[in-house]
């Protein structure tokens, strides 16, 4: 029945601090220059469920009101009389409203009625009152910039005398309409136009392939009683399956590569096959030849899997969520985290237990003060939104965010990069079956589990495969609901252990179309009955239901005999399960609505019919030179400025808003030491409470070196991730027969559009050549260290276009590494442990300041890009593993941004020790201090271990000096001090850098801790 609409308003009692209102007023002044006067924030709940006056009042006062904090107003918009303007922030139809659903849950409990929480009856909103009378345009601006996002929120604003309410009334009647889209007689230009208008993101050749296919199968379709022309649903399925996002067409393309400097040319038979798949096959061969058979599943499932021990698997996946984060930073990031969580959850049979999250973020300068392009969000806003999305996505799921990185570069101001990683543990056997295998037989049922389907996220897969512009579609935005997913996750863990699920996959990009399309390849077909799919609201067409990317959903394959038990468990755990069809073996993906065919596609064509691309790459060395720097000898000042620079300064204000230790297993956290402010190289997490086995986690990303040479950038990023794990005590794999020391790496390439076009992308060949060189380095690195890739992702169109301007990301690759730690108690942290310990440099420094943070201070790029000498690096890392077996190393910090000087300073941040260091003769002082040569560490050694240590490392270790008790960092050269600073001052500069200033920070207690 349609009930009348009632409103409950919660206001803070007089005298209670309105933190939110105060923040809005402050930020409006600071960022928008709007003087609002005082701002009062209130919460509104609109109830569309039949309740009596008494029930409404009691529900409000007993369930919603906090008697200490709130006053309640019913069916009115109460405010203090002095306020002049209002802003109402509601949600658009179909947008996730967890708060409304929670209130509804409470109402069901209060009334003791089984109130279906899948249909929305309560809508949450925020209502703000402003002391000043502001013009409509200012109120709108405040609403859109600070209080919400016009893609997901509906705003009402104006004078307080005229408050308009808004409650979404989603949808109309059901729309079981399927249209035909004739292709047969379309000219090339019309095919291209059709693809663009419908957001298929298919190029001409692909559109032709589809057209020709339909011409070829016309008789067959006619005989089957199907229309000759494709249906809208069929084209949507093809577009989704063939999207760059899902098919990785550019990583599969034939590439004609030319080196313009040498004139050499060669052809590459696909980047993925040549550099990633084949390289890993070779690594696996070497591993197995040496009795290391822990590589269980690579590239063929939602996440990669390696064996920890005979009982369990470690599952690892890193993805990107860039495009959505550019237009709705919060929604994009939270959806990214939750979506990435579903990959390990739905690997093999499914039901892995999530162990940790990581995230690596690339943003424009948050202090940007120029003019933004149309629909471009300010980098600060993207930063804050993404940060909040990761906070909620991780914290509310109970998954610790154990480490990450933030990289700033102006070229990320159009499209940010948001990398989300998740590690999980899964038993080797689930109900007697190999957990990592996906088996499906014809007649197995298809069960959709989790959230309902709405219009949110339609076209996400195709949309992420094109560049962003000012007209990017609102329906591509989704907001994750961590609580819905948590319920589904708890359910999966239990159901898989009871043997109720044959296999599972997640509904991410491409929705049911993608998940069922992929699962159906196992059995050889599927029949989907779309009318059974539960919707958030009516009004979706069949094709929309099939490709919608509404979140928190899994598709499960279930034996018919197990259905009843599974459904019962779903009811017990309040997870909605729906039987939406069954698998077949007839070679067709058959989609129906109420018995009528909506799509019937040959699986062979769908999955293998996409024409292979041929792309051109041409490499030219950049014309670069080493700079002549202004003469300086004040290296204390240089170090201080480096520590306060955007890419080096502390990220504490961000890190502390992530729960990095829920589950109680995090052994090395992002910040450690007595001060809680010493930055660490890799995170270490133990697997459980019964053993000391664990996993180290690291990230390598160095985009700025790519301006000099993409090969060395990629090699350096790989080495950075390896050495971070070595720093905390991890060992390289395959050093001895059957050592079982697993490594699992995900590669994530994020590059600008690299397909050459004379007018729209004139430097496309160079961009593709950079990508090729990045891949070559990846191949060389995996071979050198014998470290396998297990999964990965490529994101190919990271450009933002508006007002005739294009902002393209620099070619970027992230290597996300994990490695087994035999005993977490023997891991090593970066901070100095005790006075009189001896400080060493491990590894060699070269004149490699190209792309360094030091040059950046002077606005220079330089030329001498750091190079990885793989053989020497491997030798050093092996020596370090042996030294750690003998417990010879007390602290170890890898050298990266800012080189030796920054690493030394950071190692003092944990407790308040100082250091006295003498540089050697040889390289110039600024090179020794700031070169970012790879494969190096600052390590400390207890005085009693010095002899053994020096004997072990020989010439690979250079004695630098000693740890001192006095909180002074002194660096000398030829007897003269060249850096002399209080470590407390250095830490202060680092802690009060731009990131903590922007995100906001309480008064740090660190200074005292250092005593």
């Amino acid at each position: 029945m349609e009930s009348t609409q009632r409103t409950i308003q919660l206001l803070l009692k007089p005298g209670q601090h309105d933190g939110e209102g105060q923040r809005v007023a402050e930020v409006a002044q600071r960022h928008l220059g709007l003087t609002t006067g005082r701002v009062q924030s209130t919460a509104l709940y609109t109830v569309r469920y039949p309740v009596t006056d008494e029930q409404l009042r009691d529900f409000a006062t007993h369930c919603l009101q906090d008697p200490v904090l709130h006053d309640v107003a019913l069916d009115e918009f109460r405010h203090e009389p002095t306020y002049k303007s209002y802003i109402l922030v509601a949600k658009l139809p179909g947008v996730t409203d967890d708060e409304g659903i929670s209130a509804q849950n409470a109402l069901g409990d209060f009334l003791n009625q089984p109130l279906d929480t899948h249909t929305q009856h309560i809508f949450s909103k925020r209502l703000y009152f402003l002391e000043h009378e502001l013009p409509e345009s200012s109120l709108r601006c405040l609403a859109e910039e600070l209080l919400g996002n016009k893609l997901i929120n509906r705003f009402e604003t104006g004078p307080i005398t005229d408050i308009r309410d808004y409650t979404p009334r989603p949808g109309g009647g059901a729309e079981s309409i399927t249209n035909l889209v004739p292709l047969t007689n379309l000219a090339d230009s019309e095919l291209v136009q059709l693809s663009k208008e419908n957001l298929y993101a298919l190029n001409l050749e692909e559109m032709r392939a589809v057209r020709d296919h339909y011409v070829a199968i016309a008789p067959e379709r006619q005989a089957a009683g199907l229309p000759i022309d494709p249906t809208d649903c069929e084209l949507e399925i093809i577009a989704q399956t063939w999207s760059e996002h899902c098919k990785h067409k550019e990583f599969s393309a034939v590439i004609k590569y030319k080196d313009a400097d040498t004139g050499e040319e060669h052809e590459i038979d696909g980047l993925f096959k040549t550099y990633i798949k084949n390289a890993t096959s070779e690594v696996d061969r070497q591993l197995r030849a040496n009795g290391n058979d822990w590589l269980i599943k690579v590239f063929s499932d939602n996440a990669g899997a390696v064996r920890i021990n005979p009982e369990s698997l470690f599952v690892w996946k890193v993805e990107t969520h860039n495009s959505p984060s550019a237009i709705d930073p919060y929604g994009g990031a939270i959806t990214g985290i939750l979506g990435n969580n579903r990959d390990p959850l739905a690997t093999g049979i499914g039901g892995a237990r999530l162990l940790f999250n990581t995230n690596v973020l690339c943003f424009g300068n948050p202090e940007f003060n120029g003019t933004l392009l149309s629909n471009q969000l300010h980098p600060r806003r993207i930063f804050e939104g993404v940060r909040k999305g990761i906070e909620d996505g991780g914290n509310k799921s109970g998954v610790p965010t154990v480490n990450g990185a933030i990289v700033f570069d102006d070229r990320y101001a159009g499209k940010p990069l948001v990398y989300c990683g998740t590690g999980a543990v899964m038993p080797m056997q689930l109900a007697g079956l190999d957990s990592w295998e996906k088996n499906i037989d014809a007649q197995d049922r298809i069960i959709m589990a989790g959230g309902r389907v709405g219009k949110d996220g339609i076209h996400g897969a195709t949309f992420s495969s094109i560049e962003l512009d000012e007209t990017s579609p609102a329906t591509a935005v989704q907001i994750g609901s961590p609580i819905t997913q948590k319920l589904a996750m708890d359910f999966l863990v239990l159901a898989t252990r009871r043997g109720l699920i044959k296999c599972s996959t997640d509904n991410g990009a491409g929705g049911l179309s993608s998940s069922i399309g992929e699962l159906a390849t196992i059995s050889g077909g599927a029949v989907v009955e779309l009318e059974k799919v539960p919707l958030k609201y009516p009004g979706l067409r069949p094709w929309e239901i099939f490709v919608s990317e509404s979140q928190e959903r899994f598709s499960l394959a279930v034996e018919p005999a197990k259905i009843n038990e599974l459904l019962a468990l779903g009811r017990e755990m309040e997870v909605e399960l729906t039987d939406i069809g069954y698998f077949t073996a007839d070679g067709y993906l058959d989609v129906r609505f109420d018995g009528d065919s909506v799509a019937r596609l040959n699986m062979e064509f769908l999955h293998n019919g996409v024409p292979r691309k041929v792309l051109e790459a041409e490499w030219t060395k950049p014309q670069v030179a080493e700079p002549t720097l202004p003469a300086t000898s004040d290296y204390t000042d240089v170090l201080t400025r480096l520590l306060g620079s955007l890419n080096i300064c502390s990220r504490e204000s961000v890190i502390r808003q992530y729960d990095h230790e829920v589950k109680g297993r995090t052994i090395i956290k992002p910040l450690m030491g007595a001060t809680g402010q010493a930055p660490q190289d890799a995170a270490v997490v133990r697997f459980n409470f019964e053993s000391w086995e664990g996993v180290a986690v690291s990230n390598g990303i160095l985009p700025r070196f790519g301006d000099l040479d993409a090969y060395h950038m990629s090699a350096g990023a790989f080495d950075e991730a390896v050495r971070q794990i070595v720093a905390v005590g991890g060992k390289l794999p395959n050093l001895s027969y059957g050592d079982g020391n697993f490594w699992s790496v995900n590669d994530n390439f994020c590059v600008p559009d690299s397909v050459y076009d004379a007018t729209t992308n004139p430097d496309g060949k160079l961009k593709l050549a950079k990508l090729v060189r990045m891949c070559e380095a990846l191949r060389d690195a995996t071979a050198a260290y014998c470290i396998p890739l297990t999964s990965g992702k490529d994101s190919m169109k990271n450009d933002f276009k508006a007002d005739g301007v294009k902002i393209s990301v620099p070619p970027t690759v992230l290597y996300s590494m994990t490695a087994k730690i035999e005993d977490v108690r023997h891991t090593i942290t970066s901070d100095f442990k005790q006075a009189d310990d001896v400080i060493y440099l491990l590894g060699e420094t070269y004149d490699e300041l190209g792309g360094s943070e030091f040059y950046q201070l002077f606005g220079e790029l330089g030329a001498n890009v750091p190079q990885v000498r793989f053989d020497k690096a491997k030798e050093l890392y092996t020596l370090m593993g042996q030294a750690n077996d003998q417990h010879l190393i007390q602290s170890c910090h890898d050298l990266s941004d800012g080189g030796l000087a920054v690493a030394l300073a950071e190692a003092t941040f944990g407790h308040g020790y100082g250091a006295t260091v003498d540089l050697s003769e040889g390289l110039p002082v600024h090179v020794q201090l700031f070169s970012e040569s790879h494969s190096r560490f600052v390590a400390t050694v207890a005085p009693e271990d010095v002899v053994a240590f020096e004997q072990h490392f020989g010439a690979r270790a250079t004695r630098l000096g000693v740890v001192t008790p006095d909180s002074q960092l002194t660096v000398r050269h030829a007897g003269q001090p060249i850096i002399a600073a209080s470590t407390a001052v250095l830490r202060h500069e680092w802690t009060n850098g731009p990131v903590n200033r922007i995100i906001g920070f309480g008064q740090p207690a660190g200074e005292e801790a250092a005593r």
Partner: protein
């Protein structure tokens, strides 16, 4: 299980740990009890609400941390509401059972979100004995969620067996809504008088403090945890179950270097050992009343 077991001293102490609906610290909570020698059972809340599991078969009822129902209406509110209003087939609410459970001399503990549930429900501090909310937990003064380690001091006058013999503790806080607000000077006075404010945030010198970040949320009385007047119901914002091993502490590596013989157990575990021992002693006392006097607090 039945009541007979309660007098069987060979039977392990039974801890029931609730989960589901966004609770997410149940695994480490269970590990804490297991390490303390008890048997821990993790059960989905609906199994209790639907009457498939009875809390009366257990000695200690535990509400873990997390984001029950997403915490969208204020932390712990929806779960507290469910316990108060949702009736099982026999028409009883879980709160009815919990009242009985406490009256039977058993123990209830809540950590973080679980503490918020106990406060929103009115089981803490429950000065009136009517289980009506008397104080609240709300947004941190900093306006943000934070994960950081804090130092706690145990109120020496507290009568709670959970805290017996404990003086200070280091533990992480991980919350956005941990600021205890006590409105009304009477309520405040009663809480202090009866030492229900059993834990306070301290500075490095061990003195209770309102200075951020030592006091991470700006709580009234610098209070990190409460008990009811019996001491049987206990809740706290920080996470003792996240400090079961030395290696959870951010400074473990330096401390171990300084003192290679350092215990590998974390501060948090002592609290669980306390309550498990207390229940064991209670049982022994029930068997041989003579010994009981040694353990009464």
């Amino acid at each position: 299980m039945n009541d007979q077991h309660m007098n069987d001293t060979s039977q392990k102490v039974q801890a029931l740990i609730l989960t589901g609906f966004g609770i997410n610290c149940e695994e480490e909570y269970a590990a804490a009890y297991r390490l303390a020698g008890a048997e821990a059972t993790i059960v989905h809340l609906n199994q209790v609400l639907h009457g498939h599991v009875s809390i009366h078969d257990y000695d200690i009822l535990n509400f873990p941390g997390g984001f029950s129902f997403g915490d969208d209406l204020g932390s712990g509110v929806v779960l507290a509401n469910k316990l108060r209003y949702r009736k099982n087939a026999e028409g009883r609410t879980l709160l009815d059972d919990i009242k009985q459970f406490v009256a039977n001399g058993k123990f209830v503990m809540g950590i973080c979100n679980g503490f918020q549930v106990l406060v929103k429900l009115g089981l803490l501090p429950n000065l009136s004995g009517t289980v009506t909310p008397e104080v609240t937990l709300t947004h941190n003064a900093s306006g943000r969620y934070e994960d950081r380690w804090v130092r706690l001091k145990v109120n020496p006058k507290s009568n709670s067996p959970f805290l017996k013999g404990l003086d200070t503790m280091e533990v992480p806080v991980r919350h956005g809504e941990g600021r205890l607000i006590i409105s009304g000077t009477d309520t405040l006075a009663h809480i202090e008088e009866q030492a229900l404010n059993c834990l306070s945030y301290t500075d490095y010198d061990g003195s209770p403090t309102d200075v951020y970040p030592h006091n991470p949320n700006g709580a009234d009385l610098n209070c990190a945890g409460l008990t009811d007047t019996t001491g049987q119901v206990f809740g706290l914002m920080p996470h003792p179950e996240a400090f079961l091993s030395l290696y959870n502490h951010p400074d473990w590596a330096r401390r171990k270097r300084l003192n290679p013989g350092l215990s590998e157990e974390g501060d948090g575990l002592r609290l669980f050992r306390n309550i498990v021992e207390h229940v064991q002693n209670q049982r022994q006392a029930a068997v041989s009343p003579q010994e009981a006097s040694q353990f009464s607090s």
